[in-house]
Subunit: 145 residues, 2 copies
DNA sequence: CTAACTGCAAAAACTTTGCACTTTT
DNA sequence: AAAAGTGCAAAGTTTTTGCAGTTAG
């Protein structure tokens, strides 16, 4: 994980470059995203922001996330129930998801480029964004289950 | 793709073994699932069934799909907007999804067991169900886009 | 006959949208 | 001052749930 301060500056710079306005709400969300260890959901981000900005609405959270996503600065992990976001490693990468407690961890697995190339060749698809999700049981839930 | 008739019989047998009742609605859904080439959504299955059973409800479709899923006879591909189902290859396998026309194709890619083992070891997770989605552009949309 | 299933409508849950008001630049 | 963003509430989607009536075994 990159230094939160550095990542924050990166994100702010990117927003400024694209002439998006730096409202306090937006800056705070960026700060949270840059500092977040895990993979927060929109609801979790909203809850945190509310402590600082009691008037902030969910709509604004979603709109800002859409913005960052569109700039490829945030990776969306779209689960069935709700989306989670990774603002520190925006490049697609695998995730492990606990089916019991819903914990999400980064997965340490790299598809080798030749496989992907072959997949593109045999299918004719141009692959833009792989999403590799591994549903299972996290260490804690394995024990207690 | 297995022979639809054979697959149909398999599914019916499995249902019977587990003492689930063979209602006409259920049988028809199984027939459709066994004969479907692609990866229909609940809504698409519902629409097709309605031509035969005008009174059939979406609830019943979902309940039956849940049943088949629970018996591991149908693979659910859960996309953000809606789930699609594969009743012919119930074992998890990769899918290519067109971001423009939403076409879904089976992907010809096999994760090698050692990689998965390593992923389990480094993460501590016990992997139950991998879901590999490759979002991109299908051949048709590449041309027209 | 009885346990299971169907179908309707309502509920749930996340996300998007419309619009008036406010704020950044 | 103008364009962009916020926040509220309402709408939109897919899927689930409760329950009375129906049906398979």
């Amino acid at each position: 994980m990159p230094d939160p301060k550095v990542r924050f500056d990166e994100l702010i710079t990117t927003l400024r470059e694209r002439d998006f306005r730096l409202t306090p709400q937006r800056v705070e969300l960026v700060r949270l995203i840059a500092a977040s260890e895990g993979h927060p959901s929109a609801a979790q981000l909203y809850a945190k922001i509310r402590t600082q900005f009691p008037t902030m609405s969910q709509a604004t959270v979603y709109k800002t996330l859409a913005l960052l996503k569109e700039m490829n600065q945030v990776l969306e992990i779209d689960l069935r129930d709700d989306s989670h976001y990774d603002g520190n490693r925006p490049h697609p990468h695998p995730h492990l998801i606990c089916m019991q407690c819903n914990k999400i961890e980064d997965g340490d697995l790299e598809l080798d480029p030749p496989s992907i190339k072959r997949l593109e060749k045999t299918s004719g698809y141009q692959i833009v964004r792989p999403q590799l999700l591994f549903y299972g049981l996290c260490p804690d839930c394995r024990k207690s289950g």
